[in-house]
């Protein structure tokens, strides 16, 4: 099941390249074919969700095959409640990203779609890998298609952005490679056999000084990907120069790999180091929340504004993870999804505006509400979702994260809430300047409203934002067992109190999603 899921997009990509005609012949067929493949993948992710047992904390749909026996490397994949929705998110955003590029990518569409589908394969692979070698393979392999997407179909400074993207992220992750090899080697000296399986590696004793370095090596890789302040400088360049589809995937899925990596690998593999470093990470996270928001406020370029807002939103996710309680971590995972949907939606809308006007400067717009009411309506919902209005997706995650942070240390929560307010400032101010007021530029007076295709692109995004805001329990319930399993392994309470009471300490808080549903349903 999962293997089919991972390799179906890749097969589609190869098929596209084989069918490619000269000079854009057969373009229509290739477009529908690529969309069909990505929709099929999405359908498969939904099947996984439907057949997922939400009461279990274990990995499901597990497949294991020997791969490189000499090194104990196996092909081992599976999903739990944390990775499940990231799979669905990937499946959801890829067809949307493809469809959004139908009109704007004229040159070499077959290659474009092939890279996008190959990227999807790698992303799905990252989320289901339970063997560290396999994980690293997908993690690094993902850079190549993204590099080509930015460098070949991006805007003016695309080459600089593409090279910066790949060097930054590869440099960050390469030390993780050493740490992974180190873990395998420790497993060898502990048991006499190599293994790179996540669960096997959790069992072995790691000398404290090595644990310290390994944690840093893993976390540096993930922090750059997130990106956590001050490792974020690649992000504005990559986001701004990437084509719309690239930005959507970058913001929607790729950034989540950083935070996913923290939850899946850094914290459970090195619990003691994680507890030691959590406050430092939290400080960087809240600095990022405020810094990202402040920098967003002064951006004249729409795409850059959205890009910096990601730094702020992802800061929330990291804060939730470092809080290390049910609310915080669940909120973090939820916020990953919510951010994927709403920021993906924002990039889609910005892309639509820039396709029409060939500029992304806020000052060039104004008064669009009268010209294209349907596009602006969608823009408004997505903007409000991004701010975190109750009833839309952004609220649930941020609320849970702040709640979790407050239970850990109210000071972090206090600063983080500042970020919520600031996000309302920069988003609403931007929205007002773009859509309200009088029409200042003549070109804006006759812009066409949403086309049918664009409605299909943005409609599902809006629907997802509403669905996630109204029915958070649908998403939170399957996560919960997996989140609790993580917290049993990395638990602050266990350090303070006796080990026996650690489980009770976790359960002591209110059931996490009951109060939320009440608020959201109002």
């Amino acid at each position: 099941m999962l293997t089919t899921l991972i390799f179906l997009p890749l097969a589609g990509a190869i098929l596209l390249l084989l069918l490619k005609g000269r000079e854009g012949r057969r373009d229509g067929l290739l477009r529908w074919l690529s969309l069909g493949v990505s929709l099929l993948v999405f359908a498969l992710t939904l099947v996984v969700w439907a057949r997922f047992d939400p009461s279990s904390a274990d990995y499901q749909f597990v497949e294991r095959r020997e791969w490189i026996p000499a090194f104990g490397i196996s092909y081992l994949v599976g999903v739990d409640g944390i990775s499940l929705f990231l799979l669905v998110l990937t499946g959801f955003l890829t067809p949307i990203a493809l469809l959004s590029s139908w009109a704007s990518v004229h040159r070499r569409f077959a290659e474009f779609a092939a890279f996008l589908l190959a990227l999807e394969s790698a992303m799905l692979g990252v989320f289901v890998s339970l063997d560290l070698f396999l994980f690293y393979l997908f993690w690094d392999a993902m850079l190549i298609p993204m590099y080509f997407l930015i460098g070949m179909w991006g805007y003016e400074r695309r080459i600089y952005a593409a090279v910066k993207f790949i060097l930054y992220t590869a440099a960050g992750s390469i030390l993780m490679l050493v740490a992974i090899i180190g873990l395998g080697s420790l497993h060898y000296s502990a048991t006499g056999e190599y293994s790179f399986e996540l669960q096997a590696l959790q069992e072995i004793p790691i000398p404290p000084n090595l644990e310290f370095w390994f944690f840093l090596a893993f976390t540096l890789a993930f922090a750059i990907k997130v990106p956590l302040f001050p490792f974020h400088t690649w992000l504005p360049d990559a986001h701004v120069e990437a084509p719309t589809a690239g930005s959507v995937i970058l913001a929607g899925v790729l950034l989540k790999m950083g935070t996913y990596g923290l939850v899946r690998f850094s914290f459970p593999l090195f619990p003691d180091a994680a507890l030691f470093f959590a406050p430092y990470l939290a400080v960087l996270a809240v600095v990022g929340i405020v810094y990202g928001a402040l920098v967003s406020m002064v951006q004249p370029d729409l795409k850059k504004l959205v890009a910096y807002s990601s730094v702020s939103h992802l800061g929330f996710v990291v804060l939730g993870i470092t809080a290390l309680n049910v609310q915080g971590v669940q909120g973090a995972v939820y916020q990953m999804l919510a951010h994927g949907v709403s920021t993906g939606g924002l990039f889609l809308l910005v892309g639509m505006l820039s396709d029409r006007r060939h500029t992304r400067l806020i000052a060039e717009f104004g008064g669009l509400k009268a010209v294209m009411p349907r596009l602006v309506a969608a823009f408004m919902i997505i903007t409000l979702a991004s701010i975190g209005l109750p009833g839309l997706n952004g609220f649930v995650g941020e609320f849970l994260i702040v709640l979790g942070a407050f239970r850990w240390d109210p000071r972090y929560a206090a600063v983080a809430v500042l970020g919520v307010i600031l996000s309302a400032v920069y988003m609403l101010w931007m929205f007002q300047r773009v859509n309200y007021g009088t029409i200042t530029e003549d070109e804006n007076a006759a812009l066409p409203d949403l086309t049918r295709r664009e409605a299909w692109v943005i409609g599902p995004t809006v629907a997802a934002a509403v669905l996630m805001g109204v029915l958070p329990g649908l998403f939170l319930r399957p996560m919960q067992p997996s989140v609790e399993r993580l917290l049993q392994r990395v638990s602050r309470e266990a350090v303070v109190t006796a080990p026996a009471s650690s489980g009770a300490g976790l359960q002591a808080g209110p059931v996490p999603h009951a109060p939320i549903r009440e608020t959201a349903g109002r």
Partner: protein
Amino acid sequence: MMFASDFAAIVPILCVIAAGIACLLAEALRQPGEQMPIGGLAAIGLAGAGITAALLWGRNAIGFGVITADSFALFVVLVLVAIGLLTVLFSPALIARDELPAGEYYALVLFGLAGMMLMAMATDLLVIFLALEVLSLAVYVLTAIRRQAIGAEAGFKYFLLGAFSSAFFLYGIAFAFGVSGSTKLDRLGSVVAAEAMNQSPLALVALGLLLVGFAFKVSAVPFHMWTPDAYEGAPTLVAGFMSTAVKAAAFAAFTRVFLSALEPLRPSWAPALWAIAAATMILGTVVGVAQTNLKRMLAYSSIAHAGYLLVALVAANDVGKSAVLFYLLVYGVGNLGAFATIALLGTRDHANDDLDSFAGLSARHPAIAAAMAVFLLSLGGLPPTAGFVGKWYVFSAAVQSGYYGLAVIGVLTSIVSIFFYLRVIVMMYMAPPAEVPAPAAPSRIAVAALAASVLITFYLGVLPGRVVELASRSVATIF
């Protein structure tokens, strides 16, 4: 029957030599202007060597007490056969274009390969030296085969420095003979091991001289000076052949000598080799960044790759030995492929080997550009290509022996190297097309060889299990 088994061990070498002589004869009998498939003879000889090497697998045939066909040597022989076959497949178009003497060219390639195979199989220092000279002479001539000023200069430089290093090596053998009274590796090993506590300075001098000799041949820093000039001046495909096959043979002997006979002296040579490996990786990548000529860039990159191979050697465990084998294959296919791609893009008067002449290649020759991108990504060590598994293997060896520092230097330099490999990809895919003299359309055989190299690169990157298994079993029984 002793006689037969003596010869059994060298049958692969004999196949190659026979093919080389056949090539020379064919050239001599050829009427002027007559077409003759001389390359086919070379391919048949190499195929014969490959098949006989496979048949010898697991028999541990010993030849004349100085040559062994153990699985370590046979693995290297098979790698050499693969490199040789690919070279032969790429050659015809380039021989026609540059008007090279086909018979002599193939004969030199084959004699060189015979020397390399002998070097991989030799268990006696004098035989290693003999093999070294055989392969070196062939490669010196190949470097200068175009009879142009730059080729002659490169060949002469390579010859002078090569002769210099041979002298070091020979002097080292003399000292080793002084220590043990024999040039055989097992004898040297047992003498050195017996005196492990109280090592004579003679042994250390021998060690140092042999180390310098090998370092020259594998182009390790600070003995790498000849490499960029020789590669730039040599015909491009020959540079690819030199950078892969010669390195494979030299590393095979290097590994055998240092990890068997000189293993007891490891405390003495490990720190020196550590420093050489680190310097080689760092210098190769850092200077590589500054290159604008692709052949020079690949020359520095091949220096850096020698550094990664040295990392595996320093680690000196079973993982390291098999990592050397695996990496030689991975690097051989990737590097030869990259050089061959450059060669296919050149014309008779223009090498087209500057970075700028690659601008917009993906629009002019999409298939060649894609193949080049795959080779470069593999050299850079990005998954899902073979280069990634190779690097993984090498750094696993280093980490297992506790050389975390070396592993970290290795991964950091490989990031820097990704930078310069990417520059080529940027040029090919993202820059507007350049006006360059158009090369002739590549022949079917050359395209097939490119495709085979790409497939091997992906196969070893995605399903390396069987080859890794083979490599690790190759070293398990030997030393």
